[in-house]
Amino acid sequence: MSDTPLLEVRNLKVHFPLPGTLLKPKSGGSVKAVDGVSFHLNRGETLGLVGESGCGKSTTGMAVLRMTPVTAGEIHLEGNNITDLKGRSLRTLRRKMQMIYQDPFGALDPRMRVLDIIGEPLKVHNLVSGRKAYRAEVMRLMELVGLLPGMAERYPHEFSGGQRQRIGIARALAARPEVIICDEPVSALDVSIQAQIINLLKDLQEELGLTYLFVAHDLAVVRHICDRVMVMYLGHVVEVADSEELYTNPQHPYTQALLSAIPIPDPRAESRREVDPSIEGEVPSPVNPPSGCPFHPRCKHAMETCRTVAPELKDTTQGHAVSCHLYEPTSAAMPQIRVASMA
């Protein structure tokens, strides 16, 4: 691993303007989907980006891919600023960053054969020359993801959800990318199939040295694949840490609530856990986010400062950063909060 991270995002903001009303056409305001997010991604690692719907995790992924306009901030890939790339240089960049989508039914063109779906990036980026090499490369990719090469002439509807997700993965690999952004790649799949795809992603990473940005809402899935995890809430990063550290020592009240809300498939372990009912209500609208800390209306530790001052993301220990007033040195009360122990 070199010193410069493969991908670096600095103070990224993505705001979507809202349409105004008939009488006030310009005062529409905006949805602050991503509001000042910074992180880095090292070569060969998997960074999990987790949070509930509307937290900005998918938008962050899309912005990194340059698939949605960036309002402010910078994105660097291999040390180069790619925030404002256009035209030909943007197209070259596209090859280096690929995406695996959530919905294996919507992400594949129903009128294309699997051969052409997987092979399209090869054509677009001129990665092979000649029909023979093209076919051979598609066959190699199909085998790599566990599809029988004999299926190449078939259409997407002839495949099950898990197989379609394999097609999507093969297509992403075709471009030989530096970074793959996986946007909820297994959440539409059944449990037994989910495990097949998670294992496939891990094997491919080991074999090909891939780097993943893994966007997901399911912290249990994330635990099985990620090296580091970043938790988002209403467009902000609230906590980031090594995976093991985050699961055993979660510090932000939101991360703690999120972890305790997820049931463990083991009745004995469940009976020992506390179901933390402290997290009341639902995620507020990002159109009109709360002042101060975005989590304060749902936080059982909220103090006066939390209502007015937005906390900054600061390291508490090496590699573990939290955005919460409770952990600031001036704060009188360090929280003695226990999360459900993971016996």
């Binding site: 509930e52 891990k202 099985h224 083991d266 997290i279």
Partner: protein, 345 residues
């Protein structure tokens, strides 16, 4: 929600209502539901028998296409026909056979003695009726609640499902609620007539995890308060471990294993149950632990394999499994399995 709620202890011998079939609230026997597609018949529910005790929460788990939702819909004869048809079986609710009832009789049971909560609250609520109108409907129809009492009763229901500021929300429309709040309205509707059995079909699948926890805790508290029974249909083994007394595991239209939560999770006897538990990502797993998937795909129910439907994916399969479909039989007491193999061997 109340103060820190510790999940109930699992000392099942004392805590659990023992299900003596004679005393069961609901008794399902040999239920068969098919869907016809031209000349093809899909056996979505293929000989399912089970019972639900009074005050008990029974979970039906399985993956998509296992027949868990069709089973639930069949109980209340909510299967669209055609193409669906219940071709065999009996469903006794408190001694009366729901499958033999006239439409009128059945209508007096639906939404009254048995209520249902669906996965998608937006499509299950009527978008052009206010919450007040939708909550009042079952009370007017089934309970003949006096008009002057209806408002108070509606407000009481909204309070029970913990919707903040119920007075202000009573005349709101479904689109003005968030997903979690809509599901609360659905639950309030389901509770309007204090049903004895609540069927919850993936009640939290469309919701975020923190909201899911709130809704499931709410369902647990309310069923306990009213002493109602619940059938909880889900694909999430974690939810099952936290909330179910007993579990039916379904695969390809059949129950493959049935037992208490502890029996199923600590001593699974069917290879499919074993596989399902091993493939489930866990919050308490070793870091980056490798999952053990079930290889292969679920069968095509229009053309199921001979013998045991699971045998093509089963690591334990022996010749008998390819030829004979195993019956659901007691393994020990009320712990049942449909498998020819001893998974310990």
């Amino acid at each position: 929600m109340s103060d820190t709620a510790v999940s109930q202890p699992l000392d099942q011998s004392e805590e659990m209502p023992v299900t003596d079939p004679a005393d069961a609230l609901l008794q399902v026997e040999n239920l068969h539901t098919v869907f016809r597609q031209g000349r093809r018949a899909i056996n979505a529910v293929n000989g399912v028998s089970f019972s639900v005790g009074r005050g008990e929460t029974l979970a039906i788990v399985g993956e998509s296409g296992s027949g868990k939702s069709v089973t639930a819909m069949s109980l209340l004869r909510l299967i669209p026909s055609p193409p669906g048809e219940i071709i065999d079986g009996d469903v006794y609710f408190d001694g009366r056979n729901l499958l033999d009832m006239s439409e009128d009789e059945l209508r007096s049971v639906r939404g009254n003695e048995i209520a249902m909560i669906f996965q998608e609250p937006m499509t299950s609520l009527n978008p052009v009726l206010s919450v007040r109108q939708q909550l009042a409907e079952p009370m007017r129809v089934h309970r003949k609640v006096k008009e002057e009492n209806i408002e108070a009763r509606c407000l009481d229901l909204l309070r029970q499902v913990r919707i903040p500021d119920p007075e202000a929300r009573l005349d709101a429309y479904p689109h003005q609620f968030s997903g979690g709040m809509r599901q609360r309205v659905m639950i309030a509707m389901a509770l309007a007539c204090e049903p004895r059995l609540l069927i919850a079909d993936e009640p939290t699948t469309a919701l975020d995890v923190t909201v899911q926890a709130q809704i499931l805790e709410l369902l647990k508290d309310l069923t306990r308060q009213h002493g109602s029974s619940m059938i909880l249909i889900t694909h999430d083994l974690g939810v099952v471990a936290r909330y179910a007394d007993r579990i039916n595991v379904m695969y390809a239209g059949q129950i493959v294993e049935s037992g208490t939560a502890l029996e199923i999770f600590e001593n699974p006897r069917h290879p499919y149950t074993l596989g399902l538990i091993a493939s489930m990502p866990r919050l308490d797993a070793e870091e980056k632990a490798r999952l053990k998937p079930i290889e292969g795909q679920p069968p095509d129910l229009g053309n199921p394999p001979a013998g045991c439907a699971f045998h093509p994916r089963c690591p334990f399969a022996k010749p008998q499994c390819r030829e004979q479909d195993p019956p659901l039989e007691p393994y020990r007491g009320n712990h049942l399995k449909a498998c020819w193999v001893n998974v310990d061997e």
